[in-house]
Amino acid sequence: MQHTDPEKEGKLRRLQESVEAHPDDPSLRFQLGVLLWKEWDDKEKAAEQFLVAAKLKPEIEKGGAFTYLGLYYAGLGSESHTQRALKCFQKAVSLNPDDSLSGEALCELLDQQGKESLEVAVCREASQNSPRAFWAFQRLGYLQLHQNKCSDAVHSLQHAIRGYPTSAHLWEALGLAYQRLGRFTAALKSYGRAIELEGTRIFALLESGNTFLMLGSYKKGVETFQQALEISPKSVSAHYGLAAGMLGLAKECNNLGAYRWGATVLEEASKVAWMSTQLAGNLSSIWKLHGDIQLTYAKCYPWMEEGNGLEFDMESFDNSILSWKRTCCLAAKTARCSYQRALHLAPWQANMYIDIAVTSDLIDSLDNSSGHDLSAWHQSEKMALGALLLEGDNSEFWVALGCLSDHKALKQHALIRGLQLNVSLAVAWAYLGKLYRNQGEKQFARQSFDCARSIDPSLALPWAGMSADFHAGESAVGEAYESCLRAAQILPLAEFQIGLAKLALASGNLSSSQVFEAIRQAMQRAPHYPECHNLNGLVSEAQCNYQSAAVSYRLARCAITNLSGSDRKSHMTDISVNLARSLSKAGNALDALHECEDLKKEGLLDVEGLQIYAFSLWQLGETNLALSVVRSLAVSVSTMEQKSAAAPVVFICRLLYYISGLDSAINSILKMPKQLFRSSKISFIISAIHALDQSNRLQSIVSSTRDYLKSHEEITGMHFLIALGKLVKHGSECCLGYQSGVNHLRKALHMYPNSSLLRNFLGYLLLSTEEWNDTHIATRCCNVDTMNPIEGGLKSAYEILAAGAVACYAVGTCNPKFSYPTCTYQCLNEPGTIQQLQKCLRREPWNQNIRYLLVLNLLQKAREERFPSHLCIILERLITVALSDEFYHNDDSSYEYKKFQLLLCASEICLQGGNLTGCINHAKNASSIMLPDGYLFFAHLLLLRAYASEGNMVNLQKEYIRCLQLKTDLHIGWICLKLMESCYEVQTDLDMLELSFRECPTESMNSRNMWGAIFSLVKGLICIWNQDIVSAEEFLAQACSLAGAECSLLLCHGATCMELSRRGCASQFLSLAIRSLVKAQEASLIPLPIVSALLAQAVASLGSKEKWEKNLRLEWPTWPPEMRPAELFFQMHLLAKQSKASPQSSSVEFCQSPQRWVLRAIHTNPSCMRYWTVLQKFVE
């Protein structure tokens, strides 16, 4: 300070001098004033200067002089000075409305003097004079908000915020204004901004929390209040809001039926509410909230099934119910206490009386302490009357009285009084309806419910009420179910839910998820009702969960023992029968039997019980006892109505068949009265028995019962059964009568082309016939429809498709890179089989059968593509896992067979991959499986191949002999053996092999010929290997004559004939060759390579150049580009050179010069001297 003083003084002196020099210059005076005010703090002298300046020029510095003067006077503090200050400020503001300093000061002064209207006027004037007078807008906004002129306040505040956008206070005020206007979302946004700017705005937090609650966003509300509590942990409002928010949240949960969730939230809410009672114990609203929370808790606390699963203990069940009731009761009593405190603090609040009344009623119902005599008033009634004494014209109180009272007359009176006060009170109408219904006045009840429903369709009770009377036929049940479902969805009350389950039982909706949901929730709230557990059991049973059904029935029986009542005994019987049935279905025959015996002791076995009894006895091997039970069942059936007799009759027939066999069953059926057979179910069982009976004793009954088949499903099902019957009846000892079955199915399918059951069965039969062509027809007649996953019958479509695809060697690829499919029956859908199987696997990944079929198809594909390594890796993985799966540890022969096949596949893959040890191990494993010799043959065949490639001649010989011993029914086995035999020069007994081959059974001539042809082909090939071309030609000619138009055989024959003629044999071979090759050309579906080239040569030797050209041209497109051999290019060169066609034509040989053709030939095969020579000629 010291060293600046001279400078400061100098500045002052200079200014004073210039003022003295120009005493009339206001700006100099103003500057001097400011200097004195700010730097010398000499306000008095400064004021003098300002006074002069203001006199000389009032508008100086936009009235700045007045501002200083005002501040000066205001600082002096006395009454008169304050007046002066006011005037100065007024002048300053009028000169410069943007001057927030004077404006604020002016308003402060006015505020101190209590002149609010003047303050408003000042602010308004300033705000009108300048849009930038933000101070004025702010002031005005606050004042307007204070005066509750909210819409004006919103405008002012919005304007002020433009000037002070970061003022949390302004945003908060704006939020409040919006909130008061009822614009809650806008309010929330403003509060949110305030909190964003300043995280500790407790008011904004609390108010936005309250707004969230008001809007029903309880979750957000709770979060906001939690935030508020962090800032101010002792805030009563925050505690209250938090508890209220949690209560709202819990109520939402309860309305969903998530009682456990609701209870957890309520436990926390109760803690918070209790905290707030500790903070402010004398606020009745807090006690009421605590009461509300506890009451809701009492109403939602769920009974939890003890975690003992399927174990069952009566005592622990009773205890758990008791403790559940105790918890509920305790909560209700706590609620009543809290309500009483609230009432004590504010005895004028009538609704508190009602709260206490409702709670008392709940406690009574939980305590079961209904020892009141009718004349005395109930506590709940008294309290409700108390409320009415205070507010007699409150219609809701009347309704409450109506609900709580036990006196019917009073009830009715109270409800009607409520309706008189407010005719559109839906609740009153609903309760009135309930009252009428209880009194048996259905007409009135219906009208009342209708009224309630039309006033408020979101009320649950009328919907439930409407569903209660449904005894009027089938359609009405469905309607009642729908209506009750709605009630239970609006309000998940145990009573509604139990009613819903009952209606579901009547309308056949038991397996529906909504019913499951309802009954499970009902069990949490009404565990003491036996019917609740019984219905839960029925629902579980409908979902095929028999074990838990049995547990539920046991619980139901437990609950019923604690109950008293006249019809207890009949309920008990029903539950016991249910229990026995579910036990039996769960496979627990022994327990089911015990249940039935218990029932029998009491003489309560009805028809259903008898069936279960007989069935359990049969399962346990007590056939004689079972038969006697069946006899008594038959006695009771004879007295039954026809409609309900069908099931027991079917049962009797089946059990008789199982116990005493076909003949006795047929005899019993013949003895039964004919009128019992009027049902489709019986028709099926009798037809099935008839199918097995070779002497057709049931013919007349069968044909008469078939009239009762009505629906398509039933009729197609019957055709299925008839076809099965034909298989049995027309079959021989070793072979079923496939052809007659196929014939029947063809006819049936003509009538019912949509039936996948019949289609698949036909496919299955066609596959089973082993007819040459039928595998292809089989795949075509089934339709793998991804839309209908549920299929009955023996085999599903995908199994037939996959099996059919495996059966034909041309499985997957139509890519001729790998092979030239010559199968003339090529099915269009076959290339997609692997994809189809993957689709099936995607849908049913757990299905081992699909995996198995996929493995087989993949192997087929791998074989066709010469075992590429990536496919081999997948296959190896798939097979390893499949083999390790416990699925194949089953002893059933079909699983054994699949395991065998998988082992063979694994062995084959190993063989192809060069892993001979693996191959031998797998094949040995396969050969040790207990299967018919005909299958094991193939395991040994594989072993034979493995030893062959190992060079182990001793073992090879052994395996060969083993194969001959085992024998197989399948031609292909013998053919393979034959090939192996000749390849490895095994010491043989040729006749034996041939003989066995001929012995293989075949149904039709066609396939016998085909196999014969292939066998001849093999023999022919062997001859060729041995250079015995002449006999080879004989064998091949034989093969061709057996097989008809089979292009690969024809090609072989043609080629052999060509070779013979090349060797200079008789000339007829050339014409034979031409004949075969032409046939081959015609027969092949996809043009075979080599055929045309050979043919070209043959015709050329006969001197026909034209035909040579034509055939050579045909040869070109038969080769895929990457596989064309050198010779083909060379031939094309010849063609290009020799061709008579004009070089401009589009023939393929002219696409490049003859020289280029030769170059390509050399490029492909540089080792052939012939090409080089030709090239040399070109160069020369």
Binding site: Y259, L310, E517, Q543, V881
Partner: protein, 317 residues
Amino acid sequence: MKLAGLKSIEDAHDESVWAVTWVPATESRPSLLLTGSLDETVRLWQPDELVNRGKMTGHCLGVASVAAHPSGRIAASASLDSFVRVFDVDTNNTVASLEAPPSEVWQLRFNPQGTMLAVAGGGSASVKVWDTATWDIVATLSIPRPEGTKPTDKSSSKKFVLSVAWSPDGRRIACGSMDGTVSVFDADRAKFLHHLEGHFMPVRSLVFSPVEPRLLFTGSDDTHVHMYDAEGKTLVGAMSGHAGWVLSVDVSSDGAAVATGSSDRTVRLWDISMRGAVQTMSNHTDQVWGVAFRPGGMPGRLASVSDDKSISLYDYS
């Protein structure tokens, strides 16, 4: 709320499309759609025009499931032979190859924190959890055998696990099985907590609500969509309307709507508060295997894929 079709690509793949998920956006690109198909490829698509952004090969059988890491940088795909390929989305470099016995990998899901990959273990009746840093199995969450069955009783007690889901806080794992039970696990302690009952046919898809960690939505072959309180083991809503299996379920990012794809060839939009279907899209001509809401941010997008080889994109508002 409603759906409006934006774009549909016929023959997006050569074969049935089986899996779909959204790859979250990174700094350099917007979020992308990832699809897997029976044609053994995984493809990337850029919305809204569904421009093909790449085709990834490397599987030898159909791709049954795809999952994207929350960072958007890596994704995983699994084929029917249980081969899982984890790859970099932008470069298609393989990050890791995970192998399990065939039939023991079904659905895949990364946890919201991105530290784990949960795999529905199919025939192993468990959920396997892989660490995404080391790509080792860190936990196997097995479904306990139902009581009352002997350990030797092998055939019936196994529950083929089809689907898996993480709760938004990453603390719970739920998985759906072939017999219709849903099992809930504590992810931190790798412990089985309880079953959720109500379905009685395979549960092929399940998903937690992104806003409420207790709420779990499941879709099952019994044609129903269920809403569970996963902590309180209570069924709190059952929505019916589909005529076929429900193959896929997803919840919108605001938690207010559920979309389902079904074998009845439709995509349905459900309002959770009304517990009913509000819209049915029938633009697919075969069963719809996957639906996926784009996570976070407006405007809302829903994608669906189907056996008819097509992909559809909808606007959700």
